[in-house]
């Protein structure tokens, strides 16, 4: 019997269509049809400048948007051959790990809800809200943040962020303990996840699967350890590995990874170098609007030194933070706004980076840069022809090979086992279909 698990279905994972061939309740074959959320990411990136690609990358894996941003920025920086300051690297790692925790929280919460554990879902979304508050404080938005820039990040960490972060991390740990108590030794959860959706190590490698899916089969491959980027080689964390490759192992791997990510964030806060270079603050602190007005009227004598009082939502992007979080390359990084409005060099610098036809000009060539996304190896392959717009941006989506391997996991199981297996895949349609 052929059964259509149609594109719009209750599991709030996104849109995908599975045509299942059933023999009674047993699954004999699965045909997966994707592409229902194809939004032409790769084509759109060819029509805009490099910095304008960041909002598109946010919406790839929309539960962990910062990892996508960081991956794209690192790929372009590799193409340009530039390096960013230490503090910017630490900030990128902190935000990536927060994103990884939100991704795993959503995945485990949603798959628990589909098995009937509604409370676990509510607890995990509550924990995710705590992390969203942290993200919002730094980047200004909860979900689609466009925070990373080529050559650094948009704004520095706010004052008092470290204490807030430690408090929220403690709350998230409490939620993880609660979820563990509710799920791990729960008879129903255990029976529905144990030995369901098994995949062998050879099959996983043959299909090119990476991430928690591969680690649950026993292969300890993590891009952060294999080819460390940013400052992951200075951090001490473990890579949890399963053994049987079934749903339960994937659940354990994700829960352990969340704990490791929280450890990474704490270490980063201890190791991060100092921020604002309290430079030549001889001038008075003036409101930003006043600075812009006096610059337009030509009264620019003191604007070289003045410190500007920006709106609280724009904290962290003023001149004194700028050098700590952005690379010292004028042809790549936008100048601080005080320089843009205060002196002619800053204004020209800003124009040269923002106008069409000008902008960032990487050399002709191609790069591939892998980062560890929440689902596996997220790779960006960028081909440049020397203009300010990319020639080709290719995303290697981590859940693409996993979905190709999904029929192997499902065949032999019952119809109802589709729900936990598909939940543990953590398919994000934005990433799969781009």
């Amino acid at each position: 019997m052929l059964l259509n698990v149609g594109p719009s279905h209750p599991a709030m994972h996104g849109v995908i269509r599975m045509i299942m061939e059933l023999d009674g309740e047993k699954i004999k074959g699965v045909d997966i049809e994707i592409g229902y959320l194809h939004r032409a990411f790769e084509k759109m990136c060819e029509t805009v400048m490099y910095t304008q690609c960041f909002p598109y990358t946010d919406r790839l894996n929309y539960v962990s948007p910062l990892i996508n941003n960081v991956g794209f920025a690192l790929a372009v920086e590799k193409l340009l051959g530039i390096d960013i300051p230490e503090r910017a690297k630490y900030i990128r790692v902190i935000m990536s790990e927060i994103s990884r925790v939100t991704d795993h929280l959503t995945c485990v919460g949603a798959s628990a809800m589909e098995l009937g554990a509604m409370s676990v879902f509510l607890y995990m979304i509550k924990a995710r809200e705590f992390l969203y508050e942290l993200v919002e404080e730094i980047t200004g938005a909860r979900l689609t943040i466009s925070y990373v820039r080529i050559g650094g990040v948009k704004a520095d960490l706010t004052a008092g962020f470290v204490d807030k972060a430690f408090a929220k991390i403690a709350e998230v740990r409490k939620v993880l303990i609660e979820a563990d108590e509710l799920l791990t030794r729960n008879r129903i959860f255990f029976d529905r996840m144990k030995d369901i959706g098994k995949i062998s190590q050879e099959d996983a490698i043959a299909y090119g699967v990476t991430g928690p899916f591969l680690r649950s089969t026993g292969v300890a491959y993590d891009v952060r350890k294999a080819s460390p980027y940013l400052i992951y080689d200075k951090l001490d964390f473990e890579v949890p590995v399963g053994s049987t490759g079934d749903n339960l192992d994937r659940y354990f791997v994700r829960m352990a990874e969340m704990e490791q990510s929280l450890r990474i964030i704490e270490q980063c806060f201890q190791q991060i170098p100092d921020g604002a270079v309290a430079a030549d603050l001889t001038g008075v602190v003036i409101p930003a609007a006043q600075m812009v007005d006096s610059a337009k009227m030509g009264q620019t004598e003191s604007l070289i030194e003045d410190e500007v009082n920006l709106d609280p939502t724009l904290q962290g992007s003023t001149r004194k933070f700028h050098d700590a979080i952005n690379a010292n390359k004028k042809d790549v990084v936008l100048p601080a706004k005080e320089n843009t409005y205060g002196n002619i060099e800053g204004l020209m610098n800003h124009f040269k980076l923002v106008m069409y036809g000008h902008g960032i000009h990487p050399p002709m060539g191609e790069v591939y840069f892998p980062v560890e996304g929440a689902n596996g190896e997220l790779g960006f392959y960028i081909v440049s022809d020397g203009r300010d717009q990319p020639w080709r941006v290719r995303v290697h989506p981590p859940c693409f090979p996993i979905m190709a391997a999904l029929p192997k996991c499902l065949i032999g199981d019952m119809m109802a086992d589709l729900v936990p297996t598909f939940g543990s895949v953590n398919m994000i349609a934005g990433e799969l279909d781009r």
Partner: protein
Amino acid sequence: MSFMSSPTNFFTSTLDAWVGWARKFSIFQYPFVTACCGMEYMATNCSHYDQDRFGAGFPRFSPRQSDVLFVVGTISHKMAPVLKTVHDQMCEPKWVVAFGVCTCTGGFYDNYSTVMGIDTIIPVDIYIPGCPPRPENVLDGLMKLQEKIQKGEQSRTLYDPRTKLGRPAELQGGYSIEGHIKHIDSLS
């Protein structure tokens, strides 16, 4: 226009008011979730920004059993026939909420595969812009939807991108003709 009979006496208008009140606090939604807005939909549904206090807490995952179609996230051209089918399967009275700017106007995905606004395909009652909209925005939109439900109004217009005006939607099975005629008159 109102699907309830034009109120001419005390009993029917009070009855309409009570029915509207009952309907607006028991919204059964069909969350047609596709993309990133789904995350904010989940956040609105859960403890911090509870949707359940509006009576809209428990989604019905079947179009036959739901009143409101929440279209959450970008609709691509591959998905558009599915959306139309799901909307046609819903029974009257039904409302449609376009959640997120991709459903309102297409967002910044002006390309070969995105529908630039679902109101070109199905009639939309409430537009909640934002990319994604904050949960407070969603609750604001929900409250506006509740006002609409109280008054018994439904949208019956599609957006025609060539003329940039509305045009009437095709009627689905056994519905009153007065509203349709009134609408044609208002266009001319």
